[in-house]
């Protein structure tokens, strides 16, 4: 029995030592390299007094950050686009999604002020980034089939323009991101012109 115990202990130790010395797989190295690259980019962004976005396609989240601090997190329900390894990098938003702004006017009751609220922001829109990247934001098809269908048509429209090279448009990578309606509106509210967007891995696993 003692010999059997010793043999089992030896076997367990050898298994442990083998697993400890197992070299990391190429996939692990790749993940580490991606995470390191994203950190390098973020250190540069965080060094400046600004608010920036981070889209982690692996973790399915869009983060609003400043100085490396997470200010807000939008869970991504679904996304579709080219291979995320190829998308990694820093982009800048060309323009905010358009919103109709009412004119300020005197009112007797301040509660009657015509203002813009979160509900006035679009839930399906495009974010054009520089260098060339198009992000299409839309709510889930199950919640808003009409809005979703409209955004799908827009996506095909952009694709068609790119295929036909209309207006000198070449094919730019497109990402379609599905957010809850409130999150989509909130993101539209928060983004500003020239806002940096970092796409990359933020966690190792």
């Amino acid at each position: 029995m003692r010999a059997l115990g010793l043999a089992l202990a030896g076997l367990a130790l050898s298994v442990l030592s083998v697993s400890a010395s197992t070299p990391p797989s190429p996939v692990d190295s790749q993940r580490l390299a991606e995470l390191t690259r994203a950190l390098e980019d973020e250190v540069k962004l965080a060094a400046r007094p600004q608010v920036y976005l981070v889209f982690d396609p692996f973790d399915r989240a869009i983060l609003v950050k400043s100085r490396g601090l997470e200010l807000h997190r939008f869970p991504v329900l679904e996304w579709r686009g080219p291979d995320p390894h190829r998308l990694a990098g820093v982009f800048q938003l060309k323009a905010r999604p358009p919103v109709s702004r009412p004119k300020a006017a005197p009112v007797d009751d301040p509660e009657q002020l015509a203002v813009i609220e979160l509900k006035d922001m679009p839930s399906a829109y495009e974010l054009h980034m520089d260098p060339g990247l198009l992000i299409l934001i839309a709510p889930p098809a199950s919640d808003h089939p009409v809005v979703w269908a409209f955004s799908q048509v827009r996506e095909w429209w952009w694709r068609l323009l790119a295929v036909l090279h209309v207006g000198g448009r070449t094919s730019v990578p497109r990402i379609r991101v599905t957010l809850e309606e409130d999150a989509a509106r909130s993101l539209a509210w928060s983004v500003t012109e020239q806002m940096p967007l970092l796409i990359g891995r933020t966690r190792e696993s």
């Binding site: 390191t36 007094p49 609003v64 100085r67 601090l69 200010l71 004119k103 300020a104 909130s186």
Partner: protein
């Protein structure tokens, strides 16, 4: 027979090509890239990457404010005072209405846009019993002529006990319209209740970062 058997396959292939054209071929691209990534031997050794990562995380952490900082969520009209990730205060606020007003005599079609600015700022001044020096838009919005005498622009008692300036004429201050807290009604300033304003004034100093999104 062979030709007949090939026709459905050709149709399927055609349909796949059509779907692919409309829907992006991402699957095919992804497969190609994943293979390329997996086979890559250009990545530095894991130990080197881990050491670099640790150094970068430290660098990133050093960018975060060491002391108190203010975070403003303009979509939900909330102001938070935080320190090292811990929330010291959560306050209901009023932020910019997003409305516009034409600048008179501006041939270029200039407008005032009453948004709370987004980005990172810092507290630049802390005023006690502040008075409001009404800007041109405050008169124009009410349909009144803009006075030339500065004294006619001064209004006291409407900004609360304190005002904390964070640049370009924007302040965190009090309000007479407490029932509007939680709504987007201001001309860009951030309004708080008296009690929350007192706390913010006590917790924040000149130089305290203000992060607005």
């Amino acid at each position: 027979m062979r030709r007949h058997a090939g026709q459905p396959l050709a149709r399927i292939a055609g349909a796949v090509v059509l779907l692919c054209a409309l829907n992006g071929c991402e699957l095919f691209e992804a497969e190609t890239d994943v293979r390329a990534a997996s086979g890559s031997s250009a990545a530095p050794p894991v130990e080197t990457l881990r050491a670099r990562q640790t150094a970068l995380k430290r660098q990133l952490a050093m960018q975060a404010p060491g002391g108190t900082y203010i975070v403003v969520d303009t979509a939900r009209n909330r102001l938070y005072v935080k320190r090292r990730g811990e929330t010291l205060l959560t306050a209901l606020a009023s932020t910019g209405s997003g409305t516009i007003l034409d600048k008179p005599g501006d041939a270029g079609g200039g407008q005032w846009v009453f948004d709370t600015p987004r980005g990172e700022f810092a507290i630049q001044s802390k005023l006690v019993n502040p008075v409001w020096v009404k800007p041109d838009w405050a008169f124009l919005e009410e349909g009144l002529p803009v006075p030339k005498d500065r004294a006619e622009r001064v209004e006291s008692g409407i900004l609360g006990e304190y005002a904390l300036g964070f640049g370009k004429g924007y302040f965190i201050h009090g309000t007479l319209y407490k029932r509007l807290l939680g709504k987007n009604v201001t001309h860009g300033c951030i309004r708080l209740s008296d009690e929350d304003l007192r706390s913010v004034h006590r917790l924040a100093s000149v130089g305290t970062p203000v992060m607005i999104y």
